[in-house]
């Protein structure tokens, strides 16, 4: 891995492909227990340890195993790492154990671990996996601690346990709703800050909502069909890339008049296009003489043919439904394929 890709891996893991903000992985521990900087830091550290170790082991040892067994192994490894940590925390930090409650044991099945192992570790080299796991752990950790700090400040009026002098505190920020809310605003801030340089990367890493989009499109198409208005039709191009503000309605274009074409016999066509200049040099004017002879034989057959105009993608015609169905099917197939890829992704 060269320096640029090294930096790129870190940029992706921390910013553009942030597991928490854009890929919505490992949300539970953050919304449930990242109530202060201290607890958030504990979550971040435990998650980092588990993620790096399990991702590395899965890259080294489990590539050849079947996916459904790997999932079990991730969980078992998670438990194996988690239990001694829990024992240590409960001995040395009993207050923390009390406040965090049941959530620390749940970190063993954090979705970040399974997803990253399945989508990255088992498909890449050890070196790339190490970098990816570190970058993901840092990205996850930074957001977790930031969320913890914000919730502590807004919900308890303290930072690191010291009062910051807020006139009011809102306890709601200590509830999961506060976690979701802050995550939403953080995601928007990061998206806004990276909009100029990495907007495509961020958009690509975000939760895939193509199935929802397709449902919406089908619904709209159904409405158009039911309306019976011939002047409004559905634009196929939106299926490829539907931007939020892109109108999916187009005014129907007028039908193109059939063109008149002259059909030239094939022999003449072949004569009219002497392919190699070298032949011309050797034969002289012979090709032209042959052409004249052929023209004498074949009265040039001039046929006025009402050829069909090129199918206009913006035009609603009788074939519309067939083409649309085919298009929808092809999009669905692509979706399925990407879905299967991402299910890897979903973790398990």
């Amino acid at each position: 891995m060269n320096n640029s890709s090294f930096g790129e891996t870190f940029r992706r893991g921390i910013i553009t492909n942030n597991p928490l903000l854009f890929q919505i992985m490992g949300v539970c521990p953050v919304v449930a227990i990242a109530l202060s900087v201290k607890t958030a830091a504990v979550v971040a550290v435990i998650n980092a340890l588990e993620l790096i170790i399990i991702e590395l082991l899965s890259c080294l040892l489990f590539k050849k195993l079947k996916r459904h067994f790997r999932v079990l192994i991730y969980a078992v490894l998670g438990f194996a790492i988690n239990l001694p940590l829990l024992a240590a925390i409960s001995r040395h930090l009993p207050d923390l154990t009390e406040s965090i409650g049941i959530f620390l044991p749940l970190l063993a099945v954090n979705s970040v671990i399974a997803v990253k192992c399945e989508t990255f570790a088992v498909k890449n080299t050890v070196r790339d996996t190490v970098f990816d796991s570190i970058a993901t752990a840092i990205g996850y950790g930074i957001v977790t601690v930031a969320v913890g700090a914000a919730r502590e400040a807004l919900g308890s009026g303290t930072i690191f346990g010291k009062p910051i002098g807020l006139p009011y505190t809102a306890e709601a920020f200590l509830a999961p709703l506060g976690g979701f809310l802050i995550l939403g605003f953080f995601a928007a801030i990061v998206k806004g800050l990276t909009a100029k340089k990495y907007s495509e990367e961020v958009n690509a890493s975000m939760l895939d909502t193509s199935q929802i989009r397709m449902l919406h499109i089908k619904h709209l198409k159904q409405l158009i069909d039911e309306s019976g208005d011939d002047d409004i039709f559905f634009d196929d191009s939106v299926l490829n890339d539907l931007e939020p503000k892109q109108s999916i309605f187009r005014r129907k274009q007028k039908t193109v008049a059939p063109e008149q074409t002259i059909v030239i016999p094939e022999e003449i066509q072949s004569f009219s296009e002497p392919e190699e200049k070298e032949e011309e040099k050797t034969v002289g004017y012979q090709p032209f003489a042959d052409l004249l002879k052929t023209l004498e034989k074949h009265e040039p057959e001039i046929v006025v043919e009402a050829t069909e105009p090129e199918p206009d993608p913006l035009e609603l015609n009788e074939e519309w439904e067939v083409r649309d169905e085919e298009l929808l099917e092809s999009v669905e197939e692509t979706e399925k394929a990407s879905d299967e890829q991402q299910d890897g992704g979903d973790g398990q």
């Binding site: 919505i24 999961p176 979701f180 809310l181 995601a187 909502t209 979903d346």
Partner: protein
């Protein structure tokens, strides 16, 4: 008999509505949000989630009723819960593979088994001191809570997809998080807590 159904129903209602595991606890939030974006996969996953939450909850509760387990420290309870979940997953996997289920279904088993929602149910039963009927109720309730959460988030995602007036930077996951926060606020109201100040 009537007490049985009362316990079962009240525990299920508690886990599903009053303390909805996803919105008021945050358990399984990632899976719920991610799954809501893929409504086609909801049915098999929901079945497996309900199955795992219920069966894990019941088995763990039965084990806790034995004098040997009930006398153990909390840390050993964690080990038992982990063990039960792993064994249940293996057994389910064997059955599913035995029926030559399609790959997509087999994948759902893994997602359904190893998530924070399923694992949280025995912990909550242990802490809340539910009896066996309560444990069954909370298991079923947790599964239904997941389905309810996915359906609610899915509806929201459809509306967000149609909404063209969302600011550019909030489009996508930021809007989803804020929508889930609003849902969470709604469910928090059912707990009767005064949440702001």
């Amino acid at each position: 008999m009537s007490y049985f159904f009362f316990d079962l129903f009240s525990a299920a209602l508690y886990a599903c509505v009053i303390q909805n595991f996803i919105f008021t606890g945050g358990y399984g939030a990632s899976e719920a949000i991610r799954m809501s974006a893929k409504p086609k996969n909801l049915f098999p996953l929901s079945i497996f989630i309900v199955y795992f939450t219920t069966v894990t909850s019941v088995i763990c509760r039965i084990l806790e009723l034995t004098s040997f387990v009930s006398g153990l420290e909390a840390l050993y309870h964690n080990m038992i819960f982990y063990g039960v979940l792993c064994i249940l997953y293996l057994v389910t996997l064997v059955v599913v593979l035995g029926f030559h289920a399609p790959k997509r279904v087999v994948r759902r088993v893994g997602i359904a088994a190893f998530n924070t929602l399923v694992l949280s149910v025995p912990f909550i039963n242990y802490r809340a001191g539910f009896n066996l009927v309560g444990a069954i109720g909370s298991g079923i309730g947790a599964g239904i809570a997941f389905v309810l959460a996915v359906l609610l988030i899915n509806t929201g995602l459809q509306k967000l997809e149609q909404n063209t007036s969302i600011p550019r930077h909030f489009k996508g996951t930021p809007a989803i998080f804020i929508y889930v926060a609003i849902l969470s606020l709604g469910f928090m109201a059912l707990t009767g807590k005064s949440i702001f100040i």
